[in-house]
Symmetry: C2
Subunit: 332 residues, 2 copies
């Protein structure tokens, strides 16, 4: 995937500029607190529910920040993206708002709600077989054929800066409560959200421990941090977290993550399902599997938070009703 050359890495100023572009377009999601969760963990957890963001996930922020910076000729040729669903919706809605044609390449086994919503925002969707076809090759072919701009899911400075506005809001909202974060957790796949959020949080609190949470079997970030370089894993199976299946950290995201993270931890499907049930029954929030990874890590005790103030990003809420019913019914 092509990354525009830049003289400098993504910095706080880019995140702040993104916030300016998103003002009045993305929602400022609230910061919420559950005294029941606090009591269970012996900590104060400030929850940033990006489930409530437009398209039901943080992905709209980065996508809009990327697309709004295209010039008139680029807007005319349109954009192409590949995504299992949330980036797809983010790009589709941003493109619709800006009048840009969009084609999204999605795996045929993506959650039905994600495919339907992407079509609903007016994008074209091309399905592919996750096992036999390469989404990168398809997207590149489409881009070449149409001259369309590829919008990467995470490895792009404007995408990272856009997702970072989640952290900027979190920092400002926590400060407004008189709180300062000791720890923060967010789900991680390619690392766009986590890299952006870490930039904002480290600027607010240099000592905050920022953790990435991955699905078990997809711990490419943990392995990469241990090796000190980007490691590509060979997943041995699927994960419940359809949104977190990237097998490697991004070229642009990894240096930021390496510098800013306390570490990465992994959660099992069972822990993710338990977190979704907890979100349903206690928090009263609909959270998709990948979106619940950070909560799963907290409930499973993967990160030490006793007596501390914790920022928790719930990154998305797009889940098929049939799967959600199975999870809350205890079948998963």
């Amino acid at each position: 995937m092509s990354v525009p050359p830049r003289a400098r890495p993504v910095a706080l100023a880019d995140v702040e500029a993104a916030a300016g572009r998103l003002a009045g377009v993305a929602l400022e999601t609230p910061l919420i607190e559950s005294l029941a969760l606090n009591a269970r963990l012996g900590a104060r957890v400030l929850i940033k529910p990006e489930t409530l963001q437009r398209v039901g996930a943080f992905k709209f922020r980065g996508a809009y920040n990327r697309l709004v910076q295209l010039d008139a000729s680029q807007r005319k040729v349109g954009v192409v993206a590949f995504s299992s669903g949330n980036h797809a919706q983010g790009v589709a809605l941003a493109a619709k708002l800006l009048g840009i044609p969009a084609l999204i390449v999605m795996p045929s086994d993506a959650p039905k709600v994600k495919i339907a919503a992407t079509l609903g925002y007016g994008a074209q969707v091309r399905r592919y077989d996750r096992l036999t076809e390469s989404r990168e090759a398809i997207a590149a072919a489409v881009a070449a054929e149409r001259g369309a701009i590829v919008v990467p899911a995470f490895d792009d400075p404007h995408i990272i800066a856009g997702q970072g506005t989640v952290g900027l809001e979190l920092a400002r909202q926590a400060a407004a409560l008189g709180a300062s974060l000791d720890v923060a957790l967010a789900p991680v796949s390619g690392g766009g959200l986590l890299a952006g959020v870490s930039l904002a949080l480290k600027a607010a609190w240099p000592d905050v421990e920022v953790w990435g949470v991955e699905p078990a079997g997809y711990d490419d970030l943990r392995q990469s941090l241990a090796a000190g370089r980007r490691v590509t894993i060979k997943p041995s199976g699927r994960t419940l977290c359809d949104a977190l299946e990237s097998p490697f950290p991004g070229e642009l995201t990894f240096p930021i993550l390496k510098r800013n993270l306390a570490g990465a931890v992994a959660v099992t499907d069972a822990e993710v399902a338990e977190a979704m049930r907890y979100a349903f029954s206690v928090l009263k929030l609909v959270v998709e599997p990948g979106g619940a990874a950070g909560l799963a890590a907290l409930l499973a005790g993967r990160v030490e938070v006793g007596g501390r103030t914790v920022g928790l990003v719930l990154s998305g809420g797009n889940v098929d009703p049939a799967l959600f019913a199975r999870v809350i019914g205890g079948e998963l």
Copy 2:
């Protein structure tokens, strides 16, 4: 049920005093907005999700405001309440926080999650058969036997004032966004929430249209407003809205409602189920049937909101997973 004699009706000052007692004890729930809902209705809807309140419903506010004003000897003898579930949990948690013994009389067919949570807060629960026993008689007998204080679900000035803090927050949060409400909707059973909220909203915006939303077949408020006096209905069946089954408006709540309301509208079970599905799939919020009544009225077009700014209270989120699964699966 015994209501303490008072020299004057509940007023805004009582709601403000309740807010002072609840500060740092109840949560200030956020005000959230869905651009998708706005687009569907052609209106701006500011959503107050009391689903996120302690115990998963607004009921904690009134219960705590009532219990915290008991004197030492009253606290020692304890409290008794009857409730299908949310008031039960509110009283149970408030009693626990204040070290007051609590007995809650609940119908044996109340949602399992509501019974379990009430027990979880340390209250005793006495179950009764909704068809063959009178909860008022049981509660009165228990109160007489123990000398315990009965905590009414709605017909009490401190309960009304406590629930009114929902409206106080809504008015302040809307004003902070530069918005003023033209219309507001809340579910109504005995009217504690709606009476309290109407006091706060009418003080902020004298011309705001406040609507109560009832289940079809339980439209005692609509009938009472039409008759100009409290009407008790004979329900011909059950409603999905277990929290909204009061057959009459309160003695204290009705005069406030009569003065402040634009009217009351009714929603069917099918409309409530559709609203729960909408909350799940678009808003990403878990809302119980009764809590979704206001949203159901909006989606069904029961109240004219085009071009207006609307306050919407989602009053509770305590729903059994099995029922929720059936609703999102389209079985109801």
